[in-house]
């Protein structure tokens, strides 16, 4: 399915100088400067950062703190667009070396949807990646922008090869969703290095390792149940590869880089067209008359997108990024960022304002938790501030999928409580970090 571009150019775009985890970019434009589409306006000041580009052609109004969809205020470049589509010159770099690609990725502003700049995932400091995964199970956007499914598939494989090249990894895999017939069809029989691939189902203890050997290829496509949640990386890695990621560590610690479809595509575009990451595809739910996939410029306020669609009732809640993992917004002035994948509008009636009751131990949350936690217990412990016990119950393993809160008949804000506890634990550890940080790092790479 093809995505539609949002035609109307907004009256004002707000481009946050931080759309990724890590250090905030430094603005390299100031009030009154003219900018072109694709022009770099924010420069990374450290490795753990990613550059920011203008998505419109216009004049910088100011550089000031503005609301950011993650809830707080962030220094942003505010631009008054003009009715012009003038871009800077895009230079494709089809045969860049691996080192050049790293720089290219940082300069093109490619980041993962979960925040990490993609080059830091592929080239983590002091770690070696041997396996690159493209996770397309959680993606709400599959195949958009491509004429045929086969084109999508072959471009994805090409993107995977690029990612592997950057990481210096010997193996790569694309993971699709089991129930996503379209994608499975697209990838079925796609040729890699002259060999037709089969989409390999991951069941039980049969994980990637088995199929690499089975299919005799260093690049494969596998299918997997959908896993969603905000913190799925470790669980995803474990499920797909069988490598255990210790609590407090991430997949790079076991040599796995997990990328998304979007960043893979962005890399492909950057290499083959020279275009930086300045527009993105999002979906809008809860409205009528919107295309399912919408191509918008980064920095477009939600307001303009909502206006482009029709919403018949009073808007009660605006959520950026999915009902389960998204952040509710208190203003519709917030801009689309690189990590925005969808906007959800809920009417006043739909907005849940149930009063939480005491847990009735119905165990529905226990039954749905994909990582076998005991959410009811965790929520009580978090509520009582017993964070140490939360940690003993492996609260950090929670993938923040929110299923527990969805099914709870007592309407307990389980996920919020869990995040509250995780936050408190992280802070406690941050305080202790100066003394132990070297040990903590050792703790990840040692063992499995």
């Amino acid at each position: 399915m093809e995505s539609k571009r949002l035609k109307k150019i907004p009256e004002k775009v707000t481009i946050p100088l931080k759309q990724h985890d890590g250090t905030i970019c430094e603005a390299i434009v100031k009030k009154g400067d003219p900018v072109l589409i694709g022009q770099k306006i924010g420069r990374s000041t450290s490795y753990y950062s990613s550059d920011i580009h203008s998505s419109v052609c216009g004049e910088v109004l100011s550089v000031e703190e503005a609301p950011h969809p993650n809830g707080n205020k962030v220094m942003s470049v505010i631009i008054q667009p003009m009715d012009s589509m003038e871009t800077v010159e895009f230079v494709p770099k089809k045969d860049a070396s691996s080192e050049e690609l790293v720089t290219l990725m940082q300069e093109a502003g490619i980041v993962e949807h979960y925040g990490a700049p993609t080059h830091t995932v592929l080239r983590p400091e002091g770690k070696q990646i041997d396996l690159v995964l493209i996770n397309s199970t959680a993606s709400e956007w599959i195949g958009g922008k491509y004429k045929t499914p086969k084109e999508y598939a072959s471009k994805m494989i090409a993107a995977l090869k690029l990612l592997m090249k950057v990481a210096g990894a010997s193996k790569g895999a694309i993971i699709v969703r089991k129930d996503d017939k379209e994608s499975i069809e697209a990838f079925e029989g796609v040729e890699v290095n002259g060999k037709a691939l089969e989409v390999a189902p991951l069941v039980g203890k049969r994980r990637l390792g088995h199929y690499f050997a089975d299919q005799g290829s260093n690049i494969i496509v596998a299918s997997q149940e959908r896993i969603y949640g905000k913190k799925i990386l470790n669980f995803f890695t474990y499920n797909v590869t069988g490598r255990k990621v210790k609590i407090g560590c991430d997949p790079t610690d076991v040599g796995v880089a997990v990328c998304g479809v979007k960043s893979a595509k962005a890399l492909y575009d950057a290499v083959h067209e020279g275009r930086p990451f300045y527009e993105t595809v999002i979906t809008v739910h809860g409205t009528k008359g919107c295309p399912e996939y919408m191509l918008v410029r980064i920095g477009t306020p939600f307001k303009d997108i909502i206006e482009a669609c029709t919403f018949e009732e009073d808007v009660g809640k605006i959520v950026a990024n999915g009902v389960i993992t998204g952040v509710a917004q208190y203003t519709d002035e917030v801009p689309v960022t690189k990590s925005t994948t969808s906007i959800i509008l809920l009417s006043k009636e739909e907005v849940l304002r149930d009063q939480s009751l005491a847990c009735i131990h119905c165990a529905r949350c226990v039954d749905v938790c994909p990582v076998s936690l005991v959410p009811s217990r965790l929520s009580v412990l978090a509520d009582q501030g017993r964070f140490d016990e939360c940690r003993q119950m492996n609260i950090q393993n929670c993938i923040e999928c929110g299923r527990c809160a969805v099914v709870c008949p007592s309407k307990i804000h389980i996920l919020q409580l869990i995040r509250y506890a995780k936050d408190a634990i992280a802070k406690a550890y941050a305080d202790a970090a100066p003394k132990e940080s070297s040990n903590l790092k050792l703790g990840c790479s040692g063992g499995e």
Binding site: G71, N72, K73, V327, A328, Q329, Y330, V351, L352, R353, S356, D383, G385, H413, Q416, L417, R419, Y420, D423, A424
Partner: protein, 267 residues
């Protein structure tokens, strides 16, 4: 008669023998397995309040007592016991205790509550830190009390409650001045104030006057009327917020009269 006395002698012999056996055993055992315990620790545990609240920062009263003896904790380290207990511990350890003996209670430095507008409706767990994690809190004022009672939950003595005005209130009969609420508040709304300190500014906002007026009807706008009118020069407005120097304040109440926002309060 002889029968009775021989009966008595026999019983005395049996029990005496038992006593002897037990005595010898205990003496032998207690000499062989002597454990050094510090009697001072026991004595200090006696004088501590025994709430095991952990406000001293240690794992309960016994732990604190041991640390005091080992000089790992200050003599006046128990906030619940306060000055009296510190004096007693000092007596046990033969040390002089200096410090004020006056009672201090948490003071709420914000008068916003329902007077402060909300930026959005919040639905979630009742906790100020949790609201802070979502969009920096619901109040229009980024400095003020959020009234979601993190301090209430932190208090082990049920001494704080959120009142009708949406602000915390401290019940001085129950408060032990342990300070846990002060540590818990994410916005530093609570501070200790002595009972003798009568006049207080009930605002912590450093926003400019206009911004304050937009969101709150009782916030400090930094108009400096109080500073100008204070006969003792006890008030200074810094960064759009009036601050009272309690050492200079005589409690005359003029500032309370002149403040256009009713931000200054006389207890």
């Amino acid at each position: 008669m002889t029968e009775i006395s021989s009966f008595l002698v026999q019983s005395m012999a049996i029990l005496g023998g038992l006593g002897l056996a037990v005595g010898i055993m205990l003496i032998v055992a207690s000499r062989k397995f002597k454990v050094e315990t510090n009697p001072l620790v026991e004595e200090i545990i006696e004088v501590l309040p025994g709430g095991n609240c952990g406000a001293c920062g240690f794992a309960g009263c016994a732990d604190f007592a041991e640390r005091v003896v080992n000089d790992d904790a200050p003599i006046n380290g128990c906030p619940v016991g306060g000055f009296d207990v510190a004096k007693e511990i000092g007596g046990i350890l033969g040390q002089e205790v200096t410090g004020e003996g006056e009672a201090r209670y948490p003071f709420v430095r914000c008068n916003g509550g329902l007077n402060c507008v909300n930026r959005f409706e919040y639905d979630g767990i009742e906790d100020c830190k949790a609201v802070m994690m979502l969009s920096d809190g619901e109040k229009g004022c980024n400095y003020g009390c959020m009234g979601r009672g993190t301090c209430v939950r932190a208090c082990p003595f049920d001494a704080i409650s959120i009142g009708e005005d949406g602000l915390p209130h401290v019940n001085k009969n129950l408060c032990t001045s342990c300070g846990l609420c002060i540590a818990a508040c994410p916005n530093d709304i609570l501070v200790f104030a002595k009972e003798s300190e009568k006049v207080h500014v009930r605002c912590v906002s450093h926003d400019k006057g206009k911004a304050v007026k937009e969101v709150c009807t009782v916030g400090c706008i930094g108009c400096k009327l109080c500073e100008k009118n204070c006969p003792e020069g006890a008030i200074k407005v810094t960064d759009f917020l009036a601050v009272i120097d309690q050492d200079k304040c005589t409690g005359c109440g003029i500032c309370v009269e002149v403040c256009p926002q009713n931000t200054i309060e006389m207890r």
